[in-house]
Symmetry: C3
Subunit: 317 residues, 3 copies
């Protein structure tokens, strides 16, 4: 049975509404994570556009960032320590590489990571790095970005582990309602295999773990994509995880918690593919008993029922 042992935290975001939690709310939520076996949190990014998680001279200068209300980086580090969890630091998403300037994305992030390391590197919960640049295909000079930033972060921190979380650029992204319009843009399995072999070859030694987002392809294709990914990972010495998306992509409201049946299908597909582990996106909105979305409370109970073996036979409840 594949268990989820890590989650992202998505506080600087472009598409998930905020729950407006204060420190005590977060404390309660870290406890809820721990209660179902999550022992690692990854702050998905320390900034996006002008919004940032902690005061940063670099980002105030480079992108005119707004001074944050709360130092979320410190808050999450402290809570991770308090609850005996590991904290992974997500770097800055400037999107410059997407707009043709990958050099700027790298340079800003070197300064951002250096500043963050100086400020938080000695924190007992600081366990590693997450490179927040998301990608589906071999594009945007992504090998250079991951190679250089992964290497830099490792050298900076005495070799702390680094991770990325790409998506599978499949039909759920292009045509979630199966209208047929953009269906042809989906990546094929052979292209996925070829491109990710090339990417992995280029970032080996710099990126330790790749957690593939599990919501990009059709439910029936996930096992194949992850199998290919695991095979490539083994070849290039990179750990392959699944990143369980706990929200529904194929509903008119974008986004509410996923139907448990779909999540279970994905967990089982990832297990069959042989992934090393499972992280999720993300606990606090979509599977927390504290979520503003009550469908998440249900999902939490379903997941606990799963952990207790409650869905092992096909017809029971």
């Amino acid at each position: 049975m594949l268990k989820i042992t890590a989650t992202f935290i998505d506080e600087i975001t472009g598409d998930i509404p905020h729950q407006n939690w204060l420190a005590d709310d977060w404390d309660k939520d870290f406890a809820a994570m721990k209660a179902i076996g999550i022992d690692s949190v990854t702050m998905i990014r320390c900034g996006h556009g002008r919004w940032i998680t902690h005061p940063s001279k670099v980002l105030e200068k480079e992108v005119n960032a707004y001074t944050p209300v709360t130092d979320l980086t410190k808050l999450f580090l402290d809570l991770a320590e308090k609850h005996g969890m590991k904290f992974y630091f997500g770097n800055y998403n400037g999107g410059f590489h997407v707009r043709g300037n990958y050099r700027k994305e790298i340079d800003i992030n070197k300064a951002v990571c250096e500043e963050a390391w100086e400020r938080y590197g000695s924190h007992p919960a600081f366990a590693g790095w997450y490179l927040t640049q998301e990608v589906g295909r071999l594009q945007w000079n992504i090998i250079e970005v991951f190679h250089e930033l992964g290497k830099f972060c490792k050298e900076l921190s005495g070799g702390l582990p680094t991770a990325i979380s790409p998506y599978i650029e499949g039909i759920q992204l292009y045509d979630p309602f199966r209208t047929g319009v953009n269906a042809g843009k989906s990546v094929t399995l052979p292209d996925f295999e070829r491109e990710w072999n090339e990417i992995m070859a280029g970032i080996t030694g710099c990126v330790d773990t790749i957690s593939f987002q599990d919501g990009g392809c059709d439910y029936s294709e996930l096992e194949d994509f992850l199998t290919v990914a695991c095979y490539a990972g083994k070849k290039h010495g990179i750990t392959i995880n699944t990143n369980v998306e706990a929200f529904d992509r194929d509903m008119p409201i974008r986004f509410l918690p996923i139907k448990w049946d779909k999540m279970l299908l994905k967990l089982r597909a990832a297990e069959k593919a042989g992934v090393a582990g499972a992280t999720m996106f993300e606990f606090s909105h979509f599977m927390s008993p504290n979520s503003s979305y009550f469908q998440a409370h249900g999902l939490n109970r379903c997941y606990q029922h799963y952990l207790a073996g409650g869905f092992e036979t096909s017809e029971n409840q």
Copy 2:
């Protein structure tokens, strides 16, 4: 005062996010239905695409269906029995008739219904059939579909009743925000009358009840459409109900619980039109005190206030 005595259950769905309820949650919700006078539940479909409500060799073979986590058909039958309610079985929605192959829609469904009857037909709560193929106009060989499937289900089950729930293809479907763009596609009252007379003539004896969805036309038109439907129903020996949609079609979030004032307007229009009864779509998301949407809790209290006569005068609270 028109009272709602039945509800659909929409668990295999394309547009309503799931609440992730386990058996005890459903038990609680059946009790809540009963508490406001609902004594019948219709499982709206036993499958859609690859998602199904109970293990089905037919659908695993024909559409490569995913084995369901829980046998929802059995769960709902058991809960209906426990709470003294009737259960109606919704057939499979393959959509083949919409894509030009009505024969396949019929054939698959004969096998699906046969299999379901064998498996669940002896259950004390099994009270009849619901033909899930939704339609607004005379199209898609819908007469053949309803005629043949209705007849088949009746013969299979010793004459158990059959029902359908079409929509009124009006302005709320084509132009809910009244931008004017697709307003002209709405069905006119004379066309509605002519087409439904023809459909009813073709399915009489095979379909016992038609519950028209009440949310397709403008609020001010509903009484007229339902009056015409009731007149045609009387002529062809078919019971006409209203199917009260308890969600808002004219809000940017698709879909949240409807404003009570709108629902009351529709209930009163249906009553004036002379419908035989009222079912709803659907209790658990949109009018349940257990719903993840708290606006539904309010709607439940408003509806109870209505049952108690609280909105009988125009200015009271």
Copy 3:
């Protein structure tokens, strides 16, 4: 520290789903408003299309209005009185001026306001008028509309104050996700200054207060827009307030409560610009501890933390 002392109530609406509250729910919510320092409520409109807040012979005749289930105008007046708050009456939004017939918008509203004044003018909580016609630019004969209706309402009521709440027609309205498509349609600061000086010059003496909606421009531009507005207000003898939008415009779900950090940024920008006060849109859905959206409960706690000085230093929690 800029404090919010007023809120709109948005019960006849085109884009905010209803919570289905009965009188006791509203009573509880007025108490919650009072608890955080709100002492004025503005019923944003007494009608829109065929939906109205109280029985109105005028609107039944003119626009075939539906008789309302509850007399909301009376309910809100009574609750305002009970909780020691002021009530401002929003007039009818017919949108005729937008469609080229501003004369009709004025004439209907004179009759509507006369009828309302006759019915509710003697109520101890009736404190003034709100002209519900929203506008961003100098268009739609808006000067005539505001001038004539403001004057009429003042004369009718012995000089009770009048207010409007325009929007800043900026990039958050045209391009909230920064795709670039409609970005060029945003109003520039010089155009804003010129047009609002002209509007203010035309409505001085008829409109006492302008509360600019704070969500139309980019967060970084708000201080400038409001500074210009305050300067113009001073020149023309009109009070300038900010109208704090407590919902997020830049999320895929339209609309859920805003992230507190964004709201704080807007409050601080308005304070620096020198506004006279702050109203909000609106408490009951987006910042109430009774809201159906639990993100609003969080926002309420954040705002109380702010009132208590909890965000005064940049790094505390």
